[in-house]
């Protein structure tokens, strides 16, 4: 029972880290493909683009932190 619970938690955590969010939802990720900031009509468009970039940065950092956590969880017999 404990093993099953632990396996579920590990799977959840790894899934979260590799997708960059708590629940796997590919549609929720900001598109990595550039939108149209070069032709952005307004400063507001640029700020919206920066919001999207910030989201990607956060997810990138979360992946890195999850890598740290996985590494720390290892053991050396």
């Amino acid at each position: 029972m404990r093993r099953a619970a632990a396996a579920i938690l590990i799977a959840t955590a790894l899934g979260a880290s590799l997708t960059g969010c708590g629940r796997f939802s590919p549609d929720a990720r900001p598109s990595p493909v550039a939108s149209t900031p070069a032709s952005a009509d307004s400063v507001d468009d640029l700020l919206a683009e920066l919001d999207s970039v910030d989201d990607l940065l956060t997810r990138s950092e979360q992946d890195a932190v999850a890598g740290d956590d996985a590494a720390r969880s290892d053991d050396a017999p």
Binding site: R2, R3, A5, A6, A7, L9, I10, A11, T12, A13, L14, G15, A16, S17, L18, T19, G20, C21, G22, F24, P26, R29, P32, V33, A34, S35, P37, A38, A40, V43, L46, L47, E49, L50, S52, V53, D54, L56, L57, R59, S60, E61, Q62, D63, A64, V65, A66, G67, D68, D69, A70, A71, R72, S73, D74, D75, A76, P77
Partner: protein
């Protein structure tokens, strides 16, 4: 560590993991298991520990493989390299599980059990390197190009208006931060994916410098985005 303590720690870990899983994204839990199969361990004890260790890794690898498949931040080459490693590890864990279950001596079972850790390093190498590569690819493949495009847009807007030395200085700083991040992140994915279990066995800090470079590149990108936001707000 006796079973009571292990059970208590496991319970605490599960509770903590539940909090993490509920409260925040992308946080891994203390995923590994106690590898201690000490002197005098019985064949049955080693086989139980082996079954637990391989099962746990098989579960983690299956999840990781599915997520790598769906991670659009990774380059095709890096995705292929990661999947190659993870599927090979998955096959190896499956094979080792069968071998350990079929072992008839303590020596054979102990050797196979230790191979789970020393030959594959699923948690120490395979999973971290895949995550660091994904993080770096997000920087080089999408975040930094998008920041450069924002920079160029801001540059054009500044050039079209009255001179503003403060905003122009911020723009120069933004460009420098983007370039620093590009230089720092350029080889992180390749460097991370080149690390092998043998490398880690010889040097447990083999991923440390790579991680530091990733942290620095990410901070440079953050700084560039902050500069861009200040410039954009200054143009309002």
């Amino acid at each position: 560590m006796n079973r009571t303590w292990r059970a208590m720690l496991a319970s605490a870990g599960v509770a903590a993991a539940l909090v993490v899983a509920t409260a925040g994204p992308a946080m891994a839990v203390d995923a590994d298991d106690d590898p201690t199969v000490g002197p005098g361990a019985s064949l049955a004890a080693i086989q139980r520990a082996g079954a637990e260790a391989t099962d746990r890794r098989i579960d983690s690898l299956n999840v990781a493989i599915a997520r790598v498949d769906g991670n659009d931040a990774l380059t095709d080459d890096d995705r292929a390299a990661i999947l190659n490693t993870l599927t090979a590890d998955l096959d190896a864990m499956t094979d080792l599980a069968g071998q350990i279950a079929g072992d008839t001596t303590v020596a054979d079972a102990a050797a196979d059990y230790h191979a789970i850790f020393t030959d594959y390093r699923v948690y120490a190498v395979a999973l971290p390197q895949s995550l660091y590569a994904a993080s770096a690819d997000a920087l080089t493949g999408s975040i930094l190009p998008r920041l450069q495009t924002v920079h160029d847009n801001l540059e054009a807007r500044l050039a079209a208006g009255d001179p503003d030395p403060d905003l122009e200085a911020l723009l120069d700083e933004m460009q420098q931060k983007i370039q620093d991040a590009e230089a720092g992140a350029a080889t992180i994915a390749a460097d991370a994916l080149a690390v092998t279990p043998a490398d880690w066995n010889a040097d447990h800090t083999v991923l440390t410098d790579i991680r530091a470079e990733l942290r620095d590149a990410g901070q440079d990108a953050r700084d560039a985005a902050r500069d861009a936001r200040q410039i954009a707000q200054g143009l309002r």
